[in-house]
Structures are given as structure tokens and as C-alpha cells.
């Protein structure tokens, strides 16, 4: 079965890509398989200047998931463009840059600098792990709309806005991104959580809170994508706890046009490649005749391919 999908700016061989922050800039995974096999690659967050991020410990294990508070550590957008992206350009895979910042101006600067080197931007207005900026853009619809439209106006490539699940009304945020001119949505980022060690009596993560990812959050992500698909006419890149082809199908039935695999890369560095190999057979097993039939399938009496959005 042909599992290719076309989304704004992205011709995907398959709908599977690694999620931002869980794949670095690809080098480490290139020793396990050919990165050209991937549908796309979402890069680690870029900010205007180099950031060290939070103190360690930065991760903690939870039931069916993990907390992380990396804090957007990255070498800064210039170095990413000069030292990281050239390596990835050798592969035949679309690149999506994850654009982060603390101010509108920083978002604009990062977007304007990196957009020339990649196929699309993922606008990260949802990182829960930095004190300044990031998350308030993702919880206040007015700010979300403004940052989206400002980034859109400087970007030469399509912009996918990455939404935070830590909100009362995800549809309001999705609509704000749409009003701001987003070409697509990426959902979800992590749920803010905490783990306390009974022995030390303190939070395990030095930043105290961290972002929860993994299968634990999947029901929340599926619910939000299902809601947003009904309300907003934009393609969605779905993520949160994907580990199996059944998970991918569940995301696409809810309304995702493609999916990203995050922390599961830590369990199994080959997971993206394995899922790509297994997906066609899994779709056939469930009686799908095309990948388009899956997208939004949970919303249709009969899964009609006419309802595919891309």
C-alpha cells in the first residue's frame, strides 16, 4: 500500500517522523538506520542564542511515561543552521525546524533564520520547561494568534503550530493558530507533571516540574485531536505515546494526517523505521484500502476518502 502523504510544504514518503527533542539533530540515530527512510525529521528546538537549559536531573520515569525538563538546551539558531542542518541535508527527507523563544522577536528571528534551510517550521508555543516564554504563548489564544501571524509573515515555508495540552479549551487555541495563518497543527506537547521522591522528599527533576510524555498521555492527545479535527480545517501532526502501528492508526482515525514518535525512540532507537515497515501491513489487516481512508475515519459513518484533508 502506498503510505505517502502530502501536507503543506511536506511530501512525506510515509506519515511517520521523529518528534522534536527526542531525536537531536539526527546524528545519533543515523548509526542505527538510514534517515532517508523517515517521513520527515522534526529537529530539536532552536532558540535565538545558545541555551544551557535546566540543571540535571532532567528526566524522571513515571507509569507508562516520563517527565522531562531539558529546558530547550540548544546551540542557538546560527550554529544549528551552520553545524547541524548540513549533516541532515545529505538525507532524502523533509526537515521541520522546531522554533522556540521567549519573546515575539526571538520567535521571529529564529523563524526567519532557519526557514531557508528547512521544509516547514513547527512553532513551539508549548514548552512547559522554561520559565520565560514558550508556554504562555500556548495557553493564551490572543498571544498564540499573534505569534503565529508574526512568524508566518517572516517564514518562507509553511508553519505548523505545536499546541500545549495544558489548557481548558484546546479548540480555542487551535482556532487562534488558524486565525494567525497556521498551515497545520502539531499536537500535543507534554502535559506538565511532577514526581516526588519519598526518600529525598523533593521533586526528582531539578526544575521541579517536567513535561509528561509517553503512552500515559495518549488518551488526552487523541481526545484533543478528535475535538480539533471537527472544529478547525487544518492538517494535524499527531503525537503522544506512539509505540505501535495500532497507535498510529488510532491517531489518524482521530484526525491526524501524520504522526510523530517521541520518547519511544529512547526505548527503541529503531522504532520509527520499524513502524514505517509495519504500517502498510497493519492498514491492510484492518481493511483500509488507502492511507487517506484512515485520516479522520472516526468521524465518518463510513470512512470516505473524500474527507481526507492534506
Amino acid at each position: 500500500m502506498d503510505i505517502s502523504i502530502s501536507l503543506p510544504g511536506l511530501d512525506l514518503k510515509n506519515p511517520i517522523m521523529p518528534a522534536s527533542g527526542c531525536f537531536g539533530f539526527g546524528k545519533e540515530f543515523a548509526q542505527f538506520y538510514d534517515l532517508s527512510d523517515l517521513g520527515a525529521i522534526i529537529l530539536k528546538a532552536a532558540t535565538g542564542e545558545k541555551r544551557y537549559g535546566n540543571e540535571a536531573p532532567r528526566v524522571a520515569e513515571t507509569s507508562s511515561g516520563m517527565l522531562n525538563a531539558i529546558g530547550l538546551q540548544n546551540p542557538g539558531v546560527e550554529k544549528i543552521v551552520n553545524e547541524e542542518i548540513p549533516f541532515l541535508k545529505a538525507y532524502d527527507t523533509p526537515l521541520i525546524a522546531n522554533v522556540s523563544g521567549s519573546t515575539m522577536e526571538e520567535y521571529e528571528h529564529v523563524a526567519a533564520t532557519i526557514c531557508k534551510e528547512v521544509d516547514a517550521l513547527e512553532l513551539n508555543i508549548s514548552c512547559p520547561n522554561v520559565k520565560e516564554g514558550g508556554v504562555q504563548f500556548g495557553t493564551d489564544p490572543r498571544l498564540a494568534e499573534e505569534v503565529t501571524s508574526r512568524v508566518k509573515s517572516v517564514s518562507t515555508v509553511p508553519v505548523y503550530v505545536k499546541l500545549s495540552p495544558n489548557v481548558t479549551d484546546i479548540v480555542a487555541l487551535a482556532k487562534a493558530a488558524a486565525s494567525g495563518g497556521a498551515d497545520g497543527l502539531s499536537m500535543i506537547n507534554t502535559l506538565t507533571g511532577m514526581k516526588i521522591d519519598p526518600a529525598t522528599r523533593k521533586p526528582i527533576i531539578s526544575n521541579q516540574t517536567g513535561g509528561l510524555s509517553g503512552p500515559a498521555v495518549k488518551p488526552v492527545a487523541i481526545r484533543m485531536i478528535h475535538q480539533v479535527y471537527q472544529a478547525v480545517n487544518l492538517p494535524i501532526i499527531g503525537m503522544g505515546g506512539i509505540e505501535t502501528t495500532d497507535d498510529i492508526i488510532e491517531y489518524m482515525l482521530a484526525g491526524a494526517s501524520a504522526v510523530a514518535v517521541g520518547s519511544a525512540n529512547f526505548k527503541n532507537p529503531l522504532i520509527c523505521k520499524e513502524l514505517i515497515e509495519q504500517l502498510p501491513e497493519a492498514l491492510e489487516r484492518y481493511g483500509f484500502s488507502s492511507i487517506e481512508e484512515v485520516i479522520g475515519g472516526a468521524h465518518h459513518e463510513t470512512a470516505a476518502s473524500g474527507l481526507f484533508r492534506a
Partner: protein
């Protein structure tokens, strides 16, 4: 580095809450240096892998030996694995102890569950004709292990918190006295111990193996980052791939 289902060929208790596990697989043939580690998926119940140092290697038999201590749910669940079971292992990972040409007399300092990687190191050093002196610290006699094995390789001093084996005290009580008798030291153990050693042996070339909570274990997630001194432009090192072994002054403890 590969992901592999390794076969457990031996698994037994060697001290209080401390187990020895021998694993068979290709990973054994790829170990470069003493001090590298494997990243273990204990079972489907656990979301993250557990890093465990390689304590010995038999490339001819494709076997590595691990020594681990039960410190939480994951290591507890590991004890239930049986000989013949397969274990999901990622490795070998990281940069180990360099065995530089000009080392002549080496001091090895291990504390508790930091001791295992030093055993394979000591064997390698001795094989190259380097004189090895070892100082091992444990909480008590019943938690001690590998002491006899180190004795086959050179002089061994043991300290315990309660004096039940060797001298009562800390490893630094002994390492200070040994100063002058070695040109390079290699240490692994709790961070407080590493700090004390690095201070005490400030003027000696040294290598430290560090611990930090890990996500990926391969350098991609930046979970395991430690600071470097101010004059270092990069500003950080990742324990999982730049380390776990660092030059004593390369990182901030």
C-alpha cells in the same frame, strides 16, 4: 552500538542486594574501552532503560559481565530474570577510561556500585604491564564484592563505613597516603566521593566516571548533561556519550 536481545548466561547474588549477570551477544564484541556501559530495558513495565557499566568482557565467548545493586523498582525487577532469558540491551555506550601510553603506575578508586567498571579497567591496565593499586570503599563487609579479584591484579586497600572489612573510614583516608605512588588515577563512585578525590588529587592526572539520570542513552535527548568549567566553549558534556568517563577537570562535579 546496537540494540540486541542478549541471552542471560549467568545470574547470581554476589553480595547484599548485589547481583552479577553475564550476558551473551554481539555487543560484547564491540566494547572498545573499560568504563563503557549498556542501557537495559528491564521489562515492558518500565518506560526508561537503566544504564549499567560493563564490569568485564570476554570477546572470545561474546560475553559481558555486569554487577548491579538493587536500588529501586527496575533493579529489583531485574533480579527476577532467569538464566536463559533474553534481555533487551542497547550498547555498548559512551566513552570509557583511556589507557594512555604513558601511564606507569595507576591508582584505582572505587566506591560501592562504582566499583564494577574499574575491574575491567584494572585487568586491561595490568595486561599492558601497568602497576595497579586499588582502593575500594564499601558500606560494610556484606555489601563488598570483587575484592579478591582485584587482589589478583595488585595491592588492594579496602575501607568500610563500619569497619567490618579493611579499615573503617573513607577511601580518601587511604588515597591521600598513597599520593606519589601513582601517576594517574581512575575513579568511579558516588559524586561526593568523586569530588573529594578530585580535590585531594588535584595535581594528579585523573579520570572520573560519572552518573546522571538518562533518557536515550545515546546522546540525542540532552537529559544527562553536566556543566564544564567556565573556560569551556561548549559549556556542557553529555554523560551518556561524551562520558561517562571524563578527565577530572573536564566537568564540574
Amino acid at each position: 552500538m546496537r540494540r540486541e536481545w542478549m541471552e542471560i548466561v549467568e545470574h547470581n547474588a554476589v553480595a547484599k542486594d548485589t547481583y552479577r549477570m553475564v550476558l551473551k551477544g554481539q555487543i560484547a564484541e564491540e566494547v572498545k574501552d573499560p568504563g563503557q556501559f549498556v542501557h537495559i530495558q528491564v521489562s515492558e513495565r518500565f518506560f526508561l532503560r537503566r544504564p549499567v557499566s560493563i564490569a568485564d568482557v570476554h570477546p572470545d565467548k561474546s560475553e559481558i559481565t555486569l554487577l548491579y545493586k538493587v536500588l529501586g523498582d527496575g533493579t529489583e525487577a531485574l533480579t527476577e530474570k532467569q538464566t536463559g532469558d533474553k534481555l533487551d540491551v542497547l550498547g555498548p555506550g559512551g566513552q570509557g577510561f583511556p589507557v594512555e601510553e604513558d601511564v606507569r603506575e595507576a591508582l584505582i578508586v572505587g566506591g560501592g556500585i562504582g566499583v564494577p567498571p574499574l575491574y575491567y579497567l584494572a585487568k586491561q591496565l595490568v595486561e599492558q604491564g601497568i602497576k595497579v593499586t586499588t582502593v575500594l570503599g564499601f558500606r560494610s563487609k556484606e555489601e563488598s564484592f570483587l575484592v579478591e579479584e582485584f587482589k589478583d591484579l595488585g595491592a588492594v586497600y579496602v575501607t568500610t563505613d563500619d569497619g567490618s572489612l579493611g579499615e573503617q573510614g573513607l577511601v580518601t583516608d587511604r588515597t591521600g597516603e598513597l599520593k606519589g605512588s601513582f601517576d594517574t588515577y581512575f575513579a568511579c563512585g558516588p559524586t561526593v566521593m568523586l569530588k573529594a578525590i578530585a580535590n585531594q588529587l588535584d595535581d594528579v592526572r585523573g579520570y572520573l566516571s560519572m552518573e546522571e539520570r538518562m533518557g536515550c542513552g545515546i546522546g540525542a535527548c540532552f537529559a544527562c548533561v553536566v556543566h564544564t568549567p567556565e573556560d569551556d566553549e561548549k559549556g556542557y558534556r553529555r554523560v551518556c556519550c561524551d562520558g561517562p568517563v571524563f578527565k577530572a577537570k573536564e566537568v564540574v562535579l
